[in-house]
C-alpha cells in the first residue's frame, strides 16, 4: 500500500497553496478539446467518414451561390468574385468562431439537466469548459470551405491592391470571428434567464452569416442600418470588404469606418464577457 494516502494534505498547515489557482481558460480549453478529439479518433472509420461527409456537405452552402450565378451575371450589382469574397470572409470568420465557441449555445441544456454544477466545482473557467465541450474536428469543415472560397475569390478579383487592403483581409476575418464569438457568448448568457430561447441566437449567428454572404445592396436600407448601428455584424465583413472592393457602402459612413472592426470586436467582447458574468452570477444566486 502506498504510504501517501489520497486526501492527505501535502504540507500540513498550508495545504494546496502551491497550486491555488486553476488552469487558465485557454489551457482548460486545450485539455478538454484534446480529450474530445482523442475520443472521436478511437473509432477511426466512423471518424473519417463523418469528417469527410461534413467537409463535402458544408460546400453545399456555397454551391447555392454557384447555382445562382449559373442564371445571373450579378446580384445587387456585385459580380461572382465579389460575392465570393463576401462569402469567404464571413464564412471563415463564422467558422472560426463556431470552432472555438459554438458549443456555448448548449448552456441552456446544461442548466436544465444540472450538469453545469459539475463544471462549477472544477478549477477552471466555466466558459472555457463549456466552449470545449464536444469539440469536434469536423467543425474545421466550415473554416476550410470559407478559406477555400476566400482564396478563390482573391484569385478571381481584379483589384488595385494596396498594403492597407492586403492587411485588412486577415484583420477582418479575425475581428469578424471575434464579433461572431461575442454574439455567441452573449446569446448563451441570455439563456441563463431564458433557457429555451437558444434559437434566437441562431438568427444572429447563422442568420447573420447568411446575410453577410450577400452584398448589402440587395437588402432593405433599415436592415443594413440595423446590422451597422444596433448589432454591429456589418463590421464582420461588409464595411471592410466594400472598402477592399472599392465600392461605396449603402449607408453613408466615412471610409475610415472600414478599419474599425478590431475596435468593434473589443467592445463586443467586453460586452459579451459582462453578459456572461452576469448570467453566471444570476445562475449561482438562483440555482436554476
Amino acid at each position: 500500500m502506498a504510504e501517501h494516502a489520497p486526501g492527505a494534505p501535502t504540507a500540513p498547515g498550508a495545504p494546496g497553496t502551491a497550486r491555488a489557482t486553476g488552469v487558465g481558460g485557454l489551457a482548460a480549453f486545450r485539455i478538454i478539446a484534446a480529450m474530445w478529439i482523442r475520443s472521436t479518433m478511437t473509432y477511426r472509420f466512423s471518424f473519417a467518414m463523418t469528417l469527410l461527409a461534413n467537409f463535402v456537405v458544408t460546400f453545399f452552402d456555397f454551391v447555392v451561390i454557384l447555382l445562382m450565378f449559373t442564371h445571373v451575371e450579378g446580384l445587387g450589382g456585385f459580380g461572382f468574385a465579389e460575392v465570393a469574397f463576401l462569402y469567404g470572409t464571413t464564412s471563415t470568420a463564422f467558422g472560426l468562431a463556431d470552432l472555438a465557441l459554438g458549443q456555448v449555445s448548449r448552456i441552456g441544456r446544461r442548466v436544465r439537466d444540472g450538469t453545469l454544477d459539475t463544471l462549477l466545482v472544477r478549477p477552471a473557467p466555466v466558459l472555457a469548459q463549456v466552449a470545449a465541450d464536444r469539440f469536434a474536428l469536423r467543425r474545421l469543415g466550415r473554416v476550410s470551405q470559407g478559406l477555400f472560397v476566400l482564396v478563390w475569390s482573391l484569385v478571381l478579383l481584379d483589384l488595385d491592391w494596396t498594403v492597407l487592403k492586403v492587411c485588412l483581409v486577415p484583420l477582418m476575418v479575425l475581428s469578424g470571428a471575434g464579433i461572431f464569438g461575442s454574439v455567441m457568448v452573449a446569446g448563451a448568457a441570455f439563456q441563463f434567464w431564458a433557457r429555451d430561447a437558444a434559437e434566437v441566437v441562431n438568427s444572429f449567428t447563422y442568420g447573420g452569416n447568411t446575410l453577410l454572404q450577400y452584398p448589402p445592396t440587395i437588402f432593405a436600407r433599415e436592415l443594413v442600418r440595423g446590422v451597422t448601428f444596433v448589432l454591429p455584424l456589418a463590421f464582420v465583413n461588409w464595411l471592410p470588404a466594400l472598402y477592399v472592393l472599392g465600392r461605396p457602402y449603402p449607408v453613408d459612413l466615412p471610409e475610415s469606418t472600414a478599419f474599425l472592426p478590431p475596435l468593434v470586436t473589443a467592445v463586443c467582447a467586453l460586452a459579451a464577457g459582462a453578459c456572461w458574468r452576469a448570467g453566471l452570477r444570476s445562475y449561482r444566486s438562483t440555482g436554476s
Binding site: T40, T42, Y43, S46, F47, M49, T50, L51, A53, N54, V57, T58, F60, D61, V63, V64, L67, M68, T70, H71, V72, E73, G74, L75, G76, R134, A136, R138, A194, R195, D196, A197, A198, E199, V200, N202, S203, F204, Y206, G207, T210, L211, Y214, I218, F219, A220, L223
Partner: protein, 270 residues
Amino acid sequence: MRLYAAVAAGSFRRHATYRVATAAGVFTNTVFGFVLAFTFNALWDERPNLGGYDKPEALTYVWIGQALLATCGLMGGGGFAEELIERIKTGDVAVDLYRPADLQLWWLATDLGRAAFELAGRGIVPMAVGALAFDLALPGASGDLWRWPAFLGSVALGVVVGFAIWFLVSLSAFWLMDGAGVVQVAWLCGLFFSGMLLPLTVFPGALGEVARVLPWASMLQVPADVFLGKYTGWGLAKAYGFQAGWAVVLLAAGRVLQLAARRRVVVQGG
C-alpha cells in the same frame, strides 16, 4: 391505434407548453425569411420567371420554406433525432425496443404531434409577417381555395418523409460513434436538397433532375408547388404519389434498420 393517437396528442400538448421556445423559433424563422426573401428578390430582379416562378411566387416560396422548416424537420435533428440518439447512446433505447409499443410508430406518432403544433405555432406568424412585408402569391380567389387543403395533405406526407429520414439517421447511432456529425450531414443535405436555400426547379441540368426525385424534395419543393398551384388534377395525384412512395420506402428501410438494431442490442446486451 388509440395508443398512437394519444401519443401524438400528448406530443402536441408537450410542444404547446414550450412557449418561450416557440416564440424564439418564430423570431428566428422570420429573420431567416427576411434574409432569404431579399436574396430571392435580387435574383428574380435579374431573372424574372426563373425556375418557372414569378417574383411573388418566388417570395411565397421563401415563406412557405420558413413555415415548413421546423414542421418537416428540415432543421437539425427534426425535433426528435437528438433525443433518440441520446437514448441510443445511453442505452435507454433497450427499454424502448422491448416496450409493447413499436419503436418506429411510437416516434412517428410523437413527431406527427410535434409537426402539427409547429405548423400552427411556428408557421402562421412568419407567413403573416412575410405577407405584410412582401407581395406574395397566396391562394385567395374562390377558385384557388382548394389549394389550402391540398397543401396540408402534401405537408402531412412531407412530415412523414422527414420523420423517416431522421429515424434512419438516428438509428445510425447504433453503428456510428459521432451521432452529432451524422446529424449535421443529414441536416445540411436536407437544407440543400429540399430546396430550402434555392428552389430545386432552379437547379441546372442533371443536378436538378436528380435533386427533384430525391426524398428531400417531398419536404418542401412538392408542398410549395402544391401551394402555388403548380399541380392540378392528375399531376397533384402524382405529386402525392411521389411523396407517399418515398414515405413507404424510407419507413420500410427504417424498419429493417430497427430489426438489425434490436438484434445488436440482444447480442451486446445493451
